[in-house]
Amino acid sequence: MTKAALARTDGLQTVTSDDPVVQVRDICKKYGNLEALRGINLEFQRGKLTTLLGPSGCGKTTLLKIIAGLVPATTGEIRVNGRAVTGPGPERAFVFQDFALMPWATVLRNVGFGLELRGVESVERNRIACRYIEQVGLAGFEDKYPHELSGGMRQRVGIARAFAVNADVLLLDEPFSAVDEQNRRKFQEDLLQLVELEKKTFIFVTHSIEEAVYVSDRIVLLSPRPGRISRVIDPSIDRSASPDEIRRNASYLDVVEEIWQGLRQYAE
Amino acid sequence: MTLFGIRIPMLASLVLWALVWEIVGRLDLIFLIPPLTSVIAAGFELVQTGSWQSATTITLRSFALGMTLAIAVGVPLGVLMGRVKVIDNIFGLWVNMFVSAPLSALVPILMILFGLGETTVFVTVFLFAVWIIVLDARAGVMQVPTSLIEMGRSYGASRWTIFTKIILLSALPEILAGIRIGLIRGVKGVVIGQILVSVIGYGELFELYSRSFDMERFWALTILLFAAAMMLSAAVEHFEKRIEYYAGAR
């Protein structure tokens, strides 16, 4: 417990550290009279994986979509690489909870779709798409249609599509929530490898405490109605260990327990 | 649509179209389209005439009879098709065929079988309305969640209780949706039947007005019919909404 607590103090000090890719300033969001988000200030570190964690109704997906430029904020601003955001941009890519794959297009076309929209010509597009299809472990499935894939495989397509446009920031909206538990664990491990390999910034939304602690460099806890930041935690898990060791590690379990104690008041 | 920050309801555009109609009518471009105001005036006169009242009675009677029979036959047949595979296999082909067949071609046959009278119109209404009611009742029964039926069985409900308390109630939203579309089709049926028979009810009036180029009355009658069809549909929709709360929970 002490170790985790120490780590957390460290974390709080680094909230405003040197190299933020994404800055969230005084974001508020109202839907009519309903206040979804209130006074959100956050910075996301380059090359790190930050998780937005909270009970349902805390506005974590809304915040992610505001960062993506898909939903306008009522007040406040988002800066990416120092520039204010007015809509979606090439430096950000989104991974959807329901995969958002085009059912009429093959895996290859789906993965290359971001490039297709940018006018990248097809040979080049397919070359890049194939590379990422292989990287997410779907080599050989290029000509399949989404309905021929399992839920887990479909989300791999969604992730490959986001990687293919070579954005600095990847926004993942509960990407594994529609995937079964076994595949989910495998996914989390693969995600960590991708973070290591691609040196990109990840902003990850989930409602699973274990998932958050396992994959994150930093966890932002949101509380509901209206959505506010309640705490920021840096799990500081030693990732050199094997996945199974990490899941039995005392500091891992301590952080999980600590977050649960913070969130249990919101459970019904 | 919002204009200058004020939300304008969708139906308001009909007022705009009515205005366009009035202007076109006033310009006297084409004798087919008299000004809307004179059509409405003709409508008020029309409803006071004995010929309109008796035509309405005949129309309503054939419509009500045809619909009653369509519901009385359609719902049980649909439920049976949803529950009994053999019945579904035998009737499925014909129901699916007649639901989108050009039934207007059948009316001449009905005319020689049932004569140029109300019976033909009543059978036309039945034939137009019944198939969609069957199909929707069948769909409703077939999409009752298996877990609900298993729940009933696990609490020891008899087959009959499961049927009446779970399957029928659960299929109610679809059954009502079928009846609503059946009603709209029934209105089309009563009009097509009467126009083709052309010696009774509104069919006779339409024939009369179009032969004597009485466009005001022709349009007045048309608007009355359209309005009745819309109101009927709105009424069932209102009733559907009242039971929608449990349809939405599925």
Partner: protein
């Protein structure tokens, strides 16, 4: 010949694809699947048998038996009158459906995309679809006489509202997540429309077209029975007037069969070519 579980759902709320879960034993279902053609034959045989018996009783002097009708049909095909009639009937039908498809899909898509167009046009077409348009068919003759134009217009009057409303609903029910996806990759509005919205809406657009064709068949028959006795309508009217009931029944049955086969064929195209994703979710 397997048709949708509920065309009413297409009529009524497009895009809400509900699937019927299995309530009957899987074994029974497999049997029925394997023997589908057997059931089709049985179901045809039962109706034709009933028809034959009813005709032999006879239930009415104007009720020919099935076999009489069949031979009348053969006779009409052999002497060429049937083929000539279809040549005349299919012209306004095809023309009317083509016009309705062009304008209907165009208008419907615009209504689905633009709030202003929706406000202006949606209520009109809702009224036109729910209303008995057949009442207006006689008016057509005043302006366009009794030629091809009048018949085509009758087809358009019945088919257009159906196609417009279904196209509109198809666009409105496009998966919003796909549109978000396109936006997140900075797709332009045009890319959104042509690369995501129209492809995603196309199965429902096609289904709407199918319903429009069904309405077009009703329209062409009305026109031929009401305005101008030509084509199949003429066959029906003529044989009725000379009390050739078997021939009349054959003409009616043939138009119903032609319409059914057309619609079934379109449905086959729809499920086999337009929806590779038919089994999604």
């Amino acid at each position: 010949m397997q048709m949708t579980a509920s065309p009413a759902k297409i009529d009524d709320a497009l895009g809400t694809s509900k699937k019927a879960p299995a309530t009957v034993g899987a074994g029974l279902r497999r049997f029925a699947d394997e023997w589908r053609s057997f059931w089709v034959v049985l179901s045809l045989a039962i109706l034709f048998g009933a028809w034959e018996i009813a005709g032999r009783v006879p239930i009415s002097y104007a009720f020919p038996t099935f076999l009489e009708t069949l031979s009348a049909f053969g006779e009409m095909v052999a002497d060429g009158s049937m083929i000539r009639a279809y040549f005349l009937t299919l012209q306004p039908l095809l023309l009317g459906v083509a016009i309705s498809a062009l304008f209907g899909i165009g208008l419907g898509v615009v209504m689905g995309l633009s709030e202003k167009a929706e406000w202006l046009l949606a209520p009109v077409f809702i009224v036109l679809q729910a209303a008995p348009m057949a009442a207006l068919v006689p008016l057509v003759t005043f302006v366009y006489g009794i030629g091809l134009t009048a018949k085509t217009l009758a087809v358009v009057m019945l088919a257009l509202p159906v196609i417009v409303l279904n196209s509109y609903k198809a666009v409105r029910h496009v998966n919003p997540s796909l549109v978000d996806m396109c936006r997140s990759f900075q797709g332009t509005r045009l890319q959104q429309i042509f690369k995501v919205i129209i492809p995603d809406a196309s199965p429902v657009l096609f289904a709407g077209l199918r319903l429009g064709i069904a309405a077009g068949f009703i329209g062409v028959m009305l026109a031929e029975l009401l305005i101008t006795p030509t084509g199949i309508g003429d066959l029906i009217t003529y044989h009725r007037s000379v009390a050739n009931y078997a021939h009349m029944y054959a003409a009616v049955a043939s138009i119903i069969a032609v319409s059914t086969l057309t619609l079934a064929g379109l449905q086959y195209v729809e499920t086999h070519f337009l929806r590779p994703e038919k089994r999604r979710k």
